[in-house]
Each structure stands twice: as C-alpha cells, then as structure tokens.
C-alpha cells in the first residue's frame, strides 16, 4: 500500500517555491505535505497533494519538470520511541530509507510521516504485520 508523491525540479533562485505554490493554488490543489531537498544550484520539491493527477497537469502546463514516485505514509505513535519503533522494523529487514518528512495532518494521537524507500514492496510487507500502520490515499485525504 503506497501513495503517490509529486517531485518537482526547481533551480535555486528566488521565487521558484512561490511559483510552485501559486501554480497549485490556482489549480485549487491542497498541499498536504512538503519537503525540500536542495543543493547549491537546484532543489527538489516533494509534495503530497489531495489530487495528484490535477496537480501534475497544472505543474507541467506551467513548464515544470515533475515526476511521480511511490512513497509510504506511515502512522507513528506520538510518544517517545514512536519513530524508533517503526525504524527498527525496517532496519532489521535491511531496508534503507532514502528520505522522509512529516505529514501536516495527524490521526489524533498519532503522527504521520512520509517515507521514500527504494525497496517499497519489502517495506510494505514488513510493516503490514501491524494493522493500521500504513495509510492509503483515501485515509490520508480524510485526515
């Protein structure tokens, strides 16, 4: 059970993050989570949105290079050691994380984090033992 993330290439110059946000705003897209990885010259904006297809179209029309990646939305108990608990499951199976970031909404007492994992299928299998750990697109939208 994976969800779709949009990644956008931006040059490291002023106003580009605004341009992405404005493009999505005008297309009536709600951004649910965002992370930005940057180097000296460029950055990659990763987005979780409420309407992936519409958002991708809007970005492409606006001239951005955008692509879709499968990521995992994982429920993390909002208590000390919550993140460590999930990571220990992955680490024991030898599953590496490329990057991760927090999701803006929560399930009440739990937090939600987005994980980009190369061996996504293995991770899904490893985490499925605990019910409700992985969230689907619909579940995310309802948060």
């Amino acid at each position: 059970m994976t969800i779709r993330q949009i990644s956008v290439f931006v040059e490291n110059k002023s106003g580009r993050l605004f341009d992405v946000a404005e493009t999505l705003g005008k297309a009536n897209i709600n951004i649910r989570a965002l992370s930005l990885a940057d180097t000296l010259d460029f950055g990659v904006i990763r987005l979780i949105v409420d309407d992936v297809a519409k958002a991708t179209d809007a970005l492409k029309v606006a001239g951005f290079t955008a692509s879709l990646t499968d990521v995992l939305a994982i429920r993390i108990a909002d208590v000390p050691g919550g993140l460590a608990g999930v990571l220990s499951v992955l680490t024991k199976k030898g599953i590496d994380i490329e990057y991760m970031y927090a999701f803006a909404g929560s399930t009440g007492k739990d937090a939600v984090m987005i994980f980009r994992i190369e061996k996504a299928a293995d991770a899904v299998k490893a985490l499925s033992d605990t019910k409700g750990l992985l969230l689907s697109d619909e579940e995310l939208r309802s948060l």
């Binding site: 460029f42 990763r46 001239g63 990646t69």
Partner: protein, 436 residues
C-alpha cells in the same frame, strides 16, 4: 632589445625580396612533397611557376583546420619521419587533435622567433625566465623554453600550476621574467597576497603573456598589481607555435616575424584579400618551415595589419591584438574548446536534451567554463543524489574529452533561450579585447 637587427630591421625592399624568394621555394616545396597540396593546387589550376610576385599568393588555395583533420595525423608532413624530431598537437573540433611536426631546422626557427619574442618583451641573456606555460603537447611551454635557451637566459621549466611553489621560486631564484597566460599571472598575484607577499615586490619585471584573449584593461590591472611590463604574444601550433608575433616595448601592436611567416588579411566571407588597415581574418603562409609547411592557413583570428614603422625600429609589420574569432572556438586557460565537443558529450547522456548553454566567466582571474543542461523528465529524479551523480558523470566525461575542469549546472526546462536559426550556445562574460 632587438635581438637580430639584420632580420628585424630589414629595409622594406630587402624584406620583400627575401619573402618572394622564400615564398616561391615554399610553394614549390609543398607542391613537390605534399600530395594534398599538389592536388589542391592542380584543382585550382595553379602551378608553382605562377608565383611571380608576392601578390600572386592570392592564387593559392587556402588551408583550413578541416584540411588538417582530413589528413590526420601526418598527411601534411613534407618530410619522412626520420627527419621529424618533434611532434606537437592541439585539440580539434572532433576530439582528434591537430598534429604538427618539426624538423631540426624547424625547431631552430621556433627557437629563433621565440628568442626574438623574449628579447622584445624585455628579457636578456642575464634574465632568469620562469616558464609557467604548460609543457607537453601544447607548443607554449617548449616554445618558450627553446627561445629562452637560444637567447642565453636561464630558464626555469616550472610549467603551469602549484602557485605557492611558483611564488617561492620567484623569490628564491630572483626570476625577472614570467611567461604564462595573462589570467594565470593575476592568479599568482592573488595567491601571493594571500600568503602575505606583496605581489608588486616580487622580482618579476617583465611578463610574456599569450595563449588566450585579453584586453588592455586587463594589461593595466596586471602591470599595476605585479609592477611589471606585460606584453602580449601570439602564435598557433599550425604556423609554428608561440612566436608568430610579439609586442615590443612600445606595446602598440604585435610584430609579425614576417621573414618566416607571411601574413595576409582576408574577408572571411568572400575570402578576398583585404588591404592593410582593414579588419579581417589573419592568414599565414610559412616561408621557412620544412616538416609541416602551411600555405595560406586560415587562423580564424580577426585582426588588422599595420605596416607603418614602429618607434622601436623593427620593420616587421604589426598586427593588432586579436579582436575575436570567426568561429565559436573558445580558449579556456589556453586550451581550445569547441561547443561541438560539449554537445557530443551531452548527446551521449541518455535522455539529455540538445538544449545547452556554455557560460565562460573569469573568476578569481581564472577562466571558468559552466555548462547549463536542462533537466527534463528523463533526467529528473526525486533523489538529489541521483541528480548529483548525473552532474558528476557529465563533468567527468567533459573533463576527459576537453582536458580542463568544467562546472555543470542543471537548469529548469525551457530556461535556455531558443533562437531562430543558429543557436547562441556560448555566453562569454570575459572582458573582450579592446581596441579600434
């Protein structure tokens, strides 16, 4: 100092006579010994016997870099390999270098014109010449070296790079002449200052600078910072290497050693010869070379020939500092770079667009080449490390082909200007040579 008064102060009539004798000899020599020249002359319907005056040179076909490439590597050599004592090469448009060969006598000519050059730039027998041009296939390093020895000066064959060591040698060996690219001299000045050494107090008094375009403003800058006289020299391997022409103490144009290299200026479009004083493409015919003689070699460099007498007393005609080039070849830190080479690397990267832009800057007085590559969906990845490894791969492939360091910058799609007709691939932000 005028090293060879007999050759350098020849009267005009004596020089013309000498040039005509040597031109006739060279044309006959090429016709008899180089099948390619014979074929081209036959096609043009010209025989060596048709050369009766200097103006008859216009009857001869031109030689271009393409001709050199078509005859790679040794097709235009006029002597068997047993008479060749040296081979040099410089980079060409397709990755194959331009190859030139020298007989023992040719090396003698190189030494002679370079000794004249060094003397015109201020060097004497007593000088300690720090030669920071690259030694190797490039003609600059060894050309200066042989000239310095011919002059009788002490040459330090330090080659380019390791700037702190350059400064140490200057101070310890009391070098009074520095030979390198103009941009490298500024770099030396900067590094000296960082080390707490006042560059104007270094023992250098004269600079012999060439192998890249530079301006009079940059000259002023160098002369002030290093407290030296900085002279411009010009040459190209196809003609001899360095030592085709050199400024004298007047710093008002470069004297072409026209007893060895016969200069013409042509209109690069119509290919018709232009008059002295008109701006056009420089063309050279070698008058004394044996191993690799050239007939009407098109340099693609734009200049003006000034035949008026120089206050220094030399009668060699002068050429203006190079204004630019007729093609898109770039000279980066003395190395020839063609945009087509950069393009060929990009075209080998799967998914890369043919849209790229080359930006040349002079940063901290060193040329920097930046290649901007558009990131499309095929090249893009959500992982920064993948994009960085793409950058690294492009950089590595370019560096291995070009032999210089480059910087690759990934840019957003459609941000590189599209032009109608011939694309503008190169943005050269270095100061252009100034002048008329």
């Amino acid at each position: 100092m005028i090293l060879d008064k007999k050759a350098e102060m020849m009267t005009e009539s004596a020089k013309k006579k000498l040039q005509l004798t040597r031109l006739k000899e060279t044309v006959a020599y090429c016709y008899d010994r180089v099948p390619y020249y014979k074929k081209k002359m036959d096609e043009a319907g010209v025989k060596p016997s048709h050369i009766k005056t200097l103006a008859d040179i216009a009857k001869l076909p031109f030689t271009t870099k393409d001709d050199l490439r078509d005859n790679y590597p040794f097709g235009l050599f006029a002597v068997p390999m047993k008479q060749i004592v040296r081979i040099h090469a410089s980079s060409g448009t397709t990755g194959k270098p331009t190859v030139v060969g020298y007989t023992k006598a040719d090396i003698g000519v190189l030494a002679e014109v370079m000794a004249r050059t060094l003397a015109a730039c201020g060097a004497t027998k007593s000088s300690v010449i720090q030669n920071a041009y690259g030694y190797g296939l490039f003609t600059g390093g060894l050309g200066i070296h042989y000239g310095a020895e011919r002059l009788g000066a002490a040459v330090i064959p330090v080659s380019v790079g390791n700037t702190p060591r350059q400064i140490m040698l200057m101070e310890d060996f009391r070098s009074d002449v520095l030979c390198c690219t103009p941009s490298y001299s500024l770099h030396i000045a900067e590094v000296a200052r960082e080390k707490g050494v006042d560059p104007s107090r270094l023992p250098i008094q004269f600079g012999v600078f060439g192998a890249e375009p530079w301006s009079d403003n940059m000259r002023k800058e160098i002369e002030e910072r290093l407290s030296i006289r900085a002279n411009d020299i010009y040459g190209l391997s196809e003609v001899i290497g360095p030592g085709v022409s050199s400024e004298c103490e007047m710093q008002d144009g470069l004297h072409i050693f026209d007893d060895h290299f016969y200069p013409e200026i042509i209109d690069p479009k119509t290919l018709t010869p232009l008059l002295h004083g008109e701006k056009g493409e420089l063309v050279f015919t070698s008058l004394t070379k044996q191993g690799f003689p050239v007939l009407r070699y098109r340099t693609k460099d734009i200049s003006i020939i000034n035949p008026s007498p120089c206050h220094c007393g030399r009668t060699h005609v002068r050429m203006k500092r190079i204004f630019g080039r007729t093609d898109d070849m770039l000279i980066i830190r003395g190395v020839n770079v063609f945009p087509s080479q950069i393009e060929s690397v990009l075209m080998n990267i799967e998914g890369a667009e043919p849209h790229y832009e080359i930006v040349v800057r002079r940063e901290e007085s060193l040329d920097e080449l930046e290649v901007r590559v558009e990131v499309n969906e095929k090249l893009f990845s959500d992982e920064v490390k993948m994009l960085e490894s793409l950058e690294k791969r492009i950089v590595a492939e370019m560096e291995s082909l070009l032999g210089i360091t480059v910087r690759v910058k990934l840019v957003e799609p459609k941000t590189i200007q599209r032009s109608e007709g011939k694309a503008t691939r190169v943005i050269d932000m270095r100061t252009k040579p100034t002048g008329a």
